[in-house]
Symmetry: C3
Subunit: 135 residues, 3 copies
């Protein structure tokens, strides 16, 4: 259901670090938002040095943008963003002051996966059961 | 007015398939949301295999993210996302369980095209007439 | 705090123009939204010709997507999007009818930078002071 998009300048993250970060973000999202890992997507955009700027100058930030369904409890989203940000520093070694994590959201019924409209937060179990039974 | 961003691992879609999918998404958006096709943008991000993960493992999803103006009737947006998702499978042959379509939105007056603030949903005709007369 | 993502087909913008546009967008955002330039990120995605479509045909738009914190006064966001759009034409020479600027937003507390939850609009000064004192 969610998509996390990580944007960096080239050579900021090795292939191993990207795989480790994707795995850790998946584990965190799955645990905090009660979604099986099979529904968690993580992608990386590695851009040329001339394509990434902070303060109008070429820079090496790690920008993480996540999309989640609207309606999770506020405390849950706060926990999610805090754990994702902590994991980003822990896994990559990039200092926190170069990392920005932003969570965006839109209504679950504005999204479709596996051919079915996504469930509202809290209704995942019934949705997953129906998905399983359809197979 | 809208932008659709399609993200895949490299070699998931051929150039022909991308062109066909862009054309079909444009047709659908234009029909459902009453916007001339000249205002519909579709872009593709093709990422290296090590840059796309589902469930923390390298994967080949088709992730489609659309931006639309806030305020379309709910039923219209539901129809839009359903038709886009169906077209994605129909045109690409990728099974629905590897396709995620997400529509995000923000207010029309937070967007500018052709140098003019976008019209609220339902006010497209007057906006388009004024645009035409300015040419 | 904000991230601006500029998407074009390859060779639409030279390296010098990208640097100039990043600098100008940073200056505008910093002035209008009262955020130090050190917190303004701008990235560019340059895609293959077969990856960018308008009206279902290969095209050369300049698509600018910005993320800001929810809660800025409406007039401020309107000014921001107008100045960014004007700067895009002024700096790049691309005509306005090929430029789309969209601002999206989500709550400040859904974002973390420098290890700290972002301040709500209007509370930047106290947040920045605390950040400075922690160094």
């Amino acid at each position: 259901m969610p998509v996390y998009t990580c944007t960096t300048a080239q050579s900021t993250l090795s292939a191993d670090i990207k795989a480790a970060l994707a795995a850790e973000m998946t584990r965190i999202h799955s645990t905090v938002n009660h979604v099986p890992g099979t529904y968690v997507n993580v992608v990386f955009h590695e851009l040329a040095p001339e394509d990434v700027y902070t303060d109008g100058r070429p820079a090496q930030p790690l920008l993480i943008n996540g999309w989640v369904r609207t309606g999770h409890p506020e405390a849950q989203t706060s926990q999610l963003v805090a754990e994702i940000a902590a994991a980003a520093t822990r896994v990559t070694g990039i200092p926190a002051d170069r990392i920005l994590v932003v969570i965006q959201n839109s209504p679950a019924h504005f999204a479709i996966e596996g051919g079915r409209v996504l469930p509202a937060p809290g209704e995942e179990q019934a949705w997953l059961r129906a998905q399983q039974e359809a197979k």
